[in-house]
Symmetry: C3
Subunit: 499 residues, 3 copies
């Protein structure tokens, strides 16, 4: 950057002005780095705040007796994620030069900062990695052993997710739209902020567990089954388990919304890059547009869910609306930067229907996910990937992914089907990869009896048996109970196998 | 901007250096856009977070049996607001060129971005619009039908509020201080971040809603003595208040929209400094109001009440919002002090008048907002007024600062027209809803709590055995909602 | 800055180009101010959000019957802090020119903005001051009279803390690393974001408060066995912890105050990179501490405890705060690991010593803060020290990095003087309050809970029938507070 600038400026300034030119241009370079870093860092902070959102959303969506357990998993998502992503996650994802499958440099931030990556990039990507883990934490709620969760979470943030992000986001990734030498179908996958890379990975990891469980259930009869005890009665009728606090659900949802403004617009990583220097139009404008599309998609999804559920269930349900809202966000994430605002409304509308549909299927399939994570992030995420391939506009695609004019864009916008093909591939490989990695992991955990908690634990609630007591003590006389609860728990955890 | 810059620079650089000059200046322009957009976008995010603040504040201030209902309204403020403000709200407010009364371009963001507005401006203004709706939802909490809520919320964010903001903030607005051709009283209204435009509008709309609906059952006993219906969770109230405080740093300082514009190029003094000053005045006003309320209430009620302090704090913020950018920090302390007294006074009057507003929204945002508008007309300093509203030297400023009464006159007009306009629009709306029995819920619903009858159950399930009850609650509710009139 | 720039540029541009040079350089100066102010302001907002974090953390960690009380103290930290820090706190801390002990200019922001300080600096420092007060409020929770709280809080934010920050952060401070004329041990104290200045001060103040008050009733039974008094809501604890984490990204990286200053102009390496590194070290320290606590507590207590993990996490942050900008990421992991052990150790000692601190604030911020100060003196790297504290090459750095012991010596001095100063100021204050019976509440109040006796009722009303109780609770409280001595 500095080079081109100074050379150009020098020729304008005339002879023996190279020093002046480079002096001025260096200052511009510094400014650009400062502005972009500020932008990226604060976006990263917003994305991090989503972890708080997940924690509150999960806490509110489970029964009071498992609140401590679920919140602990959310705190540890961030903590283990921080360590593992630092040690090798970032290296697997973005360590370059590398092959198309996996990165192999910059372990433990070695030789960072470089001209390619700064610490701020790492921080931003870490926040994404823990978001993926945060998505799945909901699915294990109320019935998975804590150790199993630790293993599973570190594996996801440390290996499974980084590899996927390498494929689609690293300049070396075989399916990345910014891949320099050869693009998949001459297009590459346009998954701007990760409907597929983040949300589908999280959602599917969750779905896999269900499928795995149901398979085991088939093999060993009633030995182990997916749903929480009592979630489906003996006649198989579904019994709603209501979360213990809608306030926490709404709190979490709003914080996620707040954080999504870092998630989507922040994915530009740079804001100071003009599309047409000297005018009002540049990346800053695209960033604003991304924030707008994100907002509109979520709003539409929320309203669609509101009325849809009103018709189906007969009442106005705030938690459903919150889920619908998040579904809209998960869907727009892939295309947020390359679609028109009006398209975002379509995206949100369909996303809400997708979510409602997925939930109905889940009911039928006796798939029990306290947070609808598989349906929401998996289903709506997949829709988002397709949506992008249909509605990406030529102008925006070329602005956001510059340097290679005439790349394919949305099918409905007249850009041909190659982008759609690439995106279908993306969905398939993500499903394949996550199944191939998480499936065996669950099997091993199951073999070692580390996967599912005992029925007694589940009935009593894990807070009492594993986490030192109930999350809430609203009346002093409760404390009495606390005591014996402790007693119980002390007895319960004797079997060290159950660590 | 780029033009002036390059022409000036060219003459400095001497002959045949136009290319160099424009090259350098273009880069400066790009930088300015990037910095200003970053600033505006993150401010917009902060303002949005206020919606979370309202949600938590409302949730904590109502009884547990209506929590789901009030939170849903807050979520939908943002959602409906997003759609309606995108479709025509922004166009009514800022679509230019237009007349002084209402904008008529840029519907659904047509021909945005332009040299005037970028997407970030829309996002920022949207966050303001939903804040106005959020204010009103508090006044009519715990007794309003959900449909009524949807109707007024869309109407407010889609039409009533945008028109007001057009008058006072758009360059074409008849009372705007940035109006180019002729200023109201040669001054225009200096409502920097919207004590009048946002808070009074929201507060007065709430006033009408609450008046027409009447108080909640049990709020005033048969002898007419007022009975406090305490909110169900002070923790949520405090949470919401702090988040609102946090968001207010986007609301007030963010209203500059640009931070990279020097007042005196090459020195340490520029808009960035004014932005910081605005954040400071905001902080001081809120802090003073909180302390005043603390001691005031201690004397009146005999105990230290955290929820009252929270309301006082917010009252101080609502009051400083109009003048935050044009007053000295010491003036902000006066502003906050009076605001707290105004709020206490309004609450006493409300008691007397048997006016029931679960969140004191009408008193807080209406009363303190009005005080803020007056305050600005009294304490705006000449220097700051000319820096913040440049291009027209010698404009009137605060009465007490020796700036004459024209600013005050303009601000009195503002208060009157806002009251008039909101009365003329929201009043009839609520009245019609009332006539068609769409406004207030049935007495049984109100006693049972709307969560059970309309929203699928209680918001909290702390003990498993509650779940049993849940079941029949569902049952009840299924029966309850049969009458489709009650949608 | 503008001067050097234009002179340099002028000589490059050749003769009679001074005007052009200064024109260009002025624009660069403006840009720098705008970017740095934006960065500093949003960092300040993040730091402010930590106050919300403290409020929620404290609320969740106390019993339900004292929730209103503790939340009110947190709201007032911010409010009183705002007023007192505006009036003289900032002047004591940074008013220059001044002696090495205390500042004596810029009272009530007089002659701010100057070329040294802008409003944004004040806002940022204010957010730090209230954080210190927030720390202390945790230690004395559930048993302190409200007046006592008001007194110590204003004293701490208005005098004790500002003086300490003057010593170590002001350019005139006798132990400041940015002191121009003579550095302590030719090094000065490198307490970048305040493990000592903020956390130790808050923690030690809390230590004295809790010591003089003694443990809560029932905390240690007659046999002296410790009885856990569990907080009433783990959800609030986790909420608060995450918000504190969020805010810490303003606390540590924000302490650079400027982001647009290249270390090697024209390359990708500059302060922006150091800022990012600071955020990374902060993150890693916290994460390691959390995991260490998780497994440590699992071994000790036999269960996975989320509130312990939250405290461990915060301990890691408190420890890394001093050295966050001058250590390598790998060192941050060591820092967090040890911090967790320090916290566990301190808690065991506290148990033994029958010291009761409801939020472990003294152990967490005092103990881990002290470790952080030492840690910095051991692991600060030469390269980073010289980049972050430029202008004086060859200054001492971490002992283990081969930088000699002078930095360590300076930091030991820091710990001693902080302990001494806080003991000499807060100790007597609490003692006097104690003597005048203004410190601890009456036993009845403590059993009944302060919310009922002082703050107008219980924080939560989940069932309507509770409201009945509310009524007589009110009754009780009205009687209780008669003795005006108990203000």
């Amino acid at each position: 950057m500095a080079q081109t600038c100074s050379s150009e400026l020098a020729q304008f300034l005339g002879p023996n002005s190279t020093a002046a030119a480079s002096y001025i241009c260096d200052k511009f370079t510094d400014t650009a780095y400062a502005v972009d870093s500020t932008y990226l860092l604060f976006s990263a902070y917003l994305v991090f705040s989503m972890q708080l959102g997940f924690a509150m959303l999960c806490a509110g969506s489970v029964r009071a007796k498992n609140t401590m357990n679920i919140m602990l998993t959310n705190v540890l998502d961030a903590a283990t994620g921080g360590i593992f992503y630092y040690l090798f996650g970032f290296a697997f994802a973005f360590g370059s030069p590398s092959n198309g499958f996996i990165g192999r440099h910059n372990f433990a931030l070695k030789s960072i900062p470089s001209s390619l990556f700064d610490y701020s990039n790492f921080l931003y990507q870490w926040a994404f990695a823990i978001a993926a883990a945060g998505i799945t934490s909901g699915s294990i709620a109320e019935r998975t052993q804590f150790v199993a969760y630790l293993v599973y979470s570190s594996f996801l943030t440390g290996f499974v997710y980084p590899v996927v992000s390498h494929w689609f986001w690293s300049a070396d990734g075989w399916a990345s739209a910014s891949n320099t030498n050869n693009l998949l179908f001459g297009s590459g996958v346009i998954d701007f902020a990760g409907s597929g890379v983040v949300h589908m990975v999280g959602g599917i990891a969750d779905g896999i567990k269900f499928i795995y469980w149901s398979r085991i259930a088939g093999l060993y009869g009633a030995l182990i089954e997916g749903p929480r005890i009592g979630r489906f009665d003996h006649t198989g009728r579904s019994v709603a388990f209501r979360g213990h606090s809608a306030s926490l659900v709404v709190l979490g949802t709003f914080i996620l919304w707040f954080g999504w403004y870092g998630f989507n617009p922040g994915s530009f990583a740079k804001i100071l890059s003009p599309y047409d220097s000297g005018t009002h139009y540049g990346q800053w404008s695209a960033v604003g547009r991304t924030a707008v599309t994100t907002t509109l998609a979520g709003c539409t999804a929320a309203l669609t869910t509101l009325f849809g559920k009103r018709i189906l269930s007969g009442h106005w349900n705030v938690t459903d609306v919150c889920n619908g809202l998040l579904g809209g966000f998960a869907a727009i994430t892939a295309g947020c930067s390359v679609v028109e605002p009006w398209a975002a409304i379509i995206c949100g509308f369909v996303a809400a229907l997708v979510l409602i549909g997925c939930n109905m299927m889940a009911e039928k399939a006796k798939f029990d996910d306290p947070l609808e994570a598989a349906q929401l992030h998996g289903g709506c995420g997949a829709w988002g990937v397709i949506f992008t391939a249909l509605f990406a506009t030529e102008k925006y695609v070329n602005e956001v992914y510059p340097g290679k004019p005439g790349r394919p864009y949305g099918l409905f916008m007249g850009g041909g089907g190659r982008l759609l093909a690439a995106h279908v591939i993306q969905i398939l490989v993500i499903i394949g990869w996550v199944s191939a990695t998480m499936g065996p992991l669950f099997f091993i955990l199951h073999k070692f009896n580390l996967l599912r908690i005992s029925a007694e634990d589940e009935m009593a609630g894990m807070d009492l048996t594993r986490h030192g007591g109930f999350a809430y003590v609203y009346h002093d006389d409760d404390e009495g109970n606390e005591a014996n609860k402790h007693g119980i728990q002390m007895r319960r955890i004797e079997p060290s196998a159950q660590i």
